[in-house]
């Protein structure tokens, strides 16, 4: 007789194979449908939850398709939000996009052609930019949804929405109101290629070949007299930017080091004398040693133009290289600017926004035959200047060094003094501490994952200069202040600016360009429109995203939870970007940080740890992974990776993850199949010894996993779960339970006990994996009769 029919063998319709690429899209479509909206269900299910978790989305830029880094970022956010959700908390997630800024404006410019763009009214250009952003928001939104990322996709935030622009402007007014918005002429990073000032976050360092030149500046008579010499003598300066020599107004000496005069009539720092001899810059022996203070405030002569160059002392002068006598042009350097302020040096700045010499060259006579230089690009004038230096050019060579480049145009940038708007870091106004101090204090209250984040952000806040927030472009939120023509002062009156904000809400910030001053000015303002002019700069886009806490969390436009947010989560590059700008704007306005936790992740690299690039052919596109392996595999990759460092991804790695997924799926399938005819779960206290053992063991594991998950250490939690599944659960328990499950009578207590233990383990495992493998667990729910 065949007894096989009498055995109670495991039975389930839950498929062994996930067929993820084929099946995922339909389930995701259901989650994002109006009738079965997963996000709406999540909100409804936790309506009365005592704890809430607000993740405030850092906006990706609304340009281009998403890459694997975006996928990592959004999936990690999704996993963390759902971790809080499945642990019973109320969650909110309003995704958003950063819409303003140069890349889109450049794209529009490229499509139109520069001339055509210049001929169009600003609001038309801005409409084209909006269109471009809108198009890519729609593309990226679908791409993010196809990763199973759940959030309020029907009402996401966009920094270009009219109400949003108004709120960014209000955040700016808040900074002004606290006395922290200042205007001054100062050298800033300037991208001549983009024709705009750049923030530190927009600067990248690349290798560049430059001149290394030593130039002699002859001492004036007064200086010679102070040195008690009658023969001619020259100070040697060293520079890598010959084009800044016309703007030279001084030479800085170290206040501490000794300087020497050589027998061939040159002045250099004593510690560098031997080196300069070796380099063949000079040939003479030391004939006199002195402190530079004797020369302070006397003059040398600029050999290019015969203008006076003031001899001054500055602690920025080092003995690392050069001559110890530093060419000082306050229009083209930060140290130069600062030391120039102390000595009252003139800020000579003869370079226009395109990086070409302007009329200043002629007006101040900065070069011989000045007209021939006006309109010429500075980088193309180096050789002519070297020629003009003649015998005063003591040595000239070329070398390669790390130099700041514009992140968008990839052209080398310059320092250029212009009138710019700054958020002041060190002003203590009206009894408030300085912004730097307040921001540092607020940082101390933030929890960082990983902990080292506080050091990165902290040292940036501690050392950063004032924040230059003005840009000379079209696609952004205007620094919409009136300036009194008579006094030159900007007007920050609450009544005036709030009226402008209200207009922005209705018409968008385009109104700043479209409307006349009289139309923008509130009634009974006390100002005469005739006597006002508009500030025409726009805001650094980092100010836009730095204001999202106000425009999203504080606003009633979004169901986004409360301000401050529980967590900001982005790639570790955002220490210098969004985390910092958000902290500064929020602290300047309200005196508090906009977040209580910051979590950062690393970047995606290939399996050798190399950056992905099209030329290397190692790019992994999220849509390809979805099609070939399934989104669940990508999500499990995120869940099992140590994300605080760089994350490796490749076909090999994805195959390993697929294998892990297969094991998890099979274990779940076996559990479902075994409990398939169980009607009620037996109380644990009535269970058999083996079942109590596996549950006790599982409790230990699950509690530890929960601890890791609550600290966002998913890879550690998953390692424990996978180990438990392989060793104790599959390796022992499922094996030793087979006999009683298959051979005992259906309602035999031993059998029911084992089934009950398996049901409990399945239930807990499912809930623990639900944040990551949401799709798979949802699929299982259709086959799991008991839970």
């Amino acid at each position: 007789m065949d007894y096989k029919e009498t055995l109670l063998l495991p039975q389930t319709d839950f498929p062994m194979r996930g067929n993820l690429p084929q099946n995922e899209p339909a389930r995701y479509a259901k989650w994002f449908s109006k009738e079965k909206s997963a996000y709406a269900r999540m909100i409804q299910n936790r309506e009365n939850a005592p704890q809430s978790f607000i993740l405030h989305d850092g906006p990706p830029y609304a340009n281009g398709h998403i890459h694997i880094g975006h996928a990592l970022n959004k999936i990690l956010k999704d996993v963390i939000i759902k971790t809080h959700y499945f642990f019973g908390e109320k969650v909110r997630y309003v995704p958003g996009w950063d819409c303003h800024g140069l890349p889109i404006e450049q794209q529009v410019e490229k499509n139109l052609g520069k001339e055509k763009k210049d001929a169009l009214p600003k609001s038309k250009i801005r409409e084209l930019c909006r269109e471009h952003a809108r198009k890519f928001i729609d593309i990226q939104r679908e791409e993010f949804k196809s990763l199973g990322v759940i959030g309020d996709w029907d009402n996401p935030y966009m920094t270009m929405k009219f109400k949003f622009e108004a709120d960014i402007y209000r955040a700016l007014c808040g900074v002004a109101d606290k006395g922290l918005l200042i205007e001054r002429s100062k050298p800033v990073y300037w991208s001549w290629a983009a024709r705009s000032a750049l923030a530190e976050a927009e600067v990248e360092y690349e290798d560049k070949e430059d001149y290394s030149i030593f130039v002699a500046f002859a001492l004036g008579d007064e200086a010679k007299a102070k040195l008690e010499i009658s023969s001619d003598a020259s100070v040697i300066i060293w520079t890598t930017t010959p084009w800044t020599l016309p703007a030279n107004v001084g030479i800085s000496f170290s206040p501490d080091e000794n300087y020497v005069l050589t027998s061939d009539g040159y002045i250099v720092a004593e510690p560098l004398h031997v080196k300069l001899l070796e380099q063949g810059v000079i040939a003479g022996e030391v004939v006199k040693t002195f402190k530079a203070s004797v020369l302070e405030n006397s003059f040398a002569i600029n050999p290019l133009n015969g203008r006076k160059s003031q001899l001054i002392l500055g602690s920025h002068v080092t003995m690392d290289g050069g001559s110890g006598c530093v060419h000082t042009a306050p229009g083209h350097g930060d140290d130069d600017y600062k030391v120039g302020l102390r000595y009252g040096l003139e800020v000579v700045m003869p370079v226009d926004e395109r990086g070409c010499y302007d009329e200043t060259i002629t007006r101040l006579g900065l070069l011989p035959n000045p007209e021939s230089f006006v309109g010429e690009h500075i980088f193309k004038c180096n050789e002519r200047i070297l020629e003009l230096l003649g015998k005063n050019l003591l040595k000239c060579s070329k070398f390669t060094h790390s130099y700041p480049f514009c992140w968008r145009t990839h052209q080398p940038i310059i320092y250029r003094a212009t009138k710019q708007w700054f958020v002041a870091m060190d002003e203590a106004v009206d009894g408030r501490e300085s912004l730097r101090k307040m921001a540092m204090e607020e940082l101390g209250k933030v929890r960082f994952y990983p902990k080292s984040g506080i050091n990165r952000l902290g040292s940036m806040i501690e050392n950063r200069p004032d924040w230059c927030i003005s840009r000379q472009r079209d696609w952004g939120v205007p620094i919409a202040f009136f300036r009194d023509k008579t006094t030159g002062k900007p007007i920050f009156d609450t009544k005036v600016v709030e009226h402008i904000a209200t207009i922005f809400e209705e018409k968008g910030a385009d109104a700043w360009w479209d409307l006349e001053i009289a139309e923008l000015l509130v009634e009974n303002s006390g100002y005469n429109a005739e006597n006002l002019e508009k500030v025409m700069d726009i805001l650094d886009v980092w100010f836009d995203s730095g204001s999202t806490w106000k425009a999203v969390l504080e606003s009633s436009e979004y169901d986004s939870g409360s301000y401050p947010a529980t967590m900001y989560l982005e790639g570790s590059d955002q220490h210098r970007g969004w985390f910092q700008s958000s902290l500064l704007v929020s602290t300047a306005n309200n005196g508090i940080a906009p977040y209580s936790k910051i979590l950062t992740h690393g970047f995606t690299v290939d399996e050798k740890g190399e950056k992905m690039s099209k030329s290397k052919g190692n790019v992994v596109a999220p849509s390809d992974v979805a099609k070939q392996y399934g989104v669940e595999i990508l999500r499990l990759w995120v869940g099992t990776s140590e994300y605080t460092t760089d994350l490796k991804i490749s076909d090999n790695i994805l195959k390993q993850i697929s294998e892990q997924y297969r094991k998890i799926r099979n274990t779940f399938r076996f559990l479902l199949a075994n409990v398939n005819d169980l009607e009620t779960v037996m109380p644990i206290s009535q269970m058999g010894a083996l079942d109590q053992w596996i549950l006790a063991h599982a409790k230990g594991v699950f509690d530890e996993v929960e601890g890791y998950f609550r600290e966002y250490e998913f890879s550690k939690g998953f390692a424990l779960l996978n180990h438990f599944i392989a060793v104790e659960l599959s390796g022992i328990y499922l094996d030793i339970s087979k006999d009683r499950l298959y051979c005992n009578a259906k309602h035999d207590p031993l059998r029911l006990s084992a089934q009950s233990a398996m049901a409990l383990i399945a239930e807990k495992l499912m809930a623990l994996m639900a944040p990551t493998l949401t799709y798979t667990i949802d699929e299982m729910m259709e086959y799991a009769l008991l839970f």
Binding site: M1, Y3, T6, L7, A38, R41, M42, N45, F86, F87, G88, I684, S685, G688, A689, L690, Q692, W693, L695, A696, H697, A698, K699, F702, D703, E706, I732, D735, I736, S737, D739, R740, Y742, C743, N744, A745, D748, L750, L760, K764, M766, A767, L768, A770, T774, I777, D778, M781, F787
Partner: protein
């Protein structure tokens, strides 16, 4: 309440569970047992652990239900008294274990060696089918 979808799930920790099961001891016993069994299988002396009986006076094993002890090692019987047919011995924490060849017949339903003849069901299977 039957949950409609994954979004109706809430995690709650398992309650505290009392278990006298000495996991370390039992796992060590199982590993040592399977070390010997793997060799027996390799040498084609046995095909399945169900062909075996385990003899021990270990108090940890005695404290268990018989069936739990059997299933832990997936053998047909765990006994205290000595019998003939020794196939291997091992020790755990000073307790000795002896692996013996099962003397009863293979139940045609569950394949445990607990039947009086190859044609007869063992007691458990008989109960399961006709009880």
């Amino acid at each position: 309440m039957k949950k409609e979808s994954v979004f109706d799930v809430v995690y709650s920790a398992l309650p505290m569970i009392e278990s006298n099961f000495d996991e370390a001891y039992m796992v060590e016993a199982r590993e040592k047992f399977f070390e010997i069994v793997d060799n027996l299988k390799k040498e084609k002396v046995i095909k399945s652990t169900l062909e075996l009986v385990l003899q021990t006076k270990s108090p940890k094993i005695s404290a268990l239900e018989k069936v739990d002890a059997e299933d832990w090692f997936t053998v047909s019987k765990v006994i205290e008294h000595d019998e003939a047919g020794e196939m291997g011995v091992f020790e755990v924490a000073g307790d000795s274990f002896k692996i013996l060849k099962a003397s009863k017949c293979k139940c045609p339903r569950c394949w445990k060696y607990r039947s009086k003849s190859e044609e007869e069901l063992c007691h458990r299977c008989n109960e399961a089918l006709h009880g």
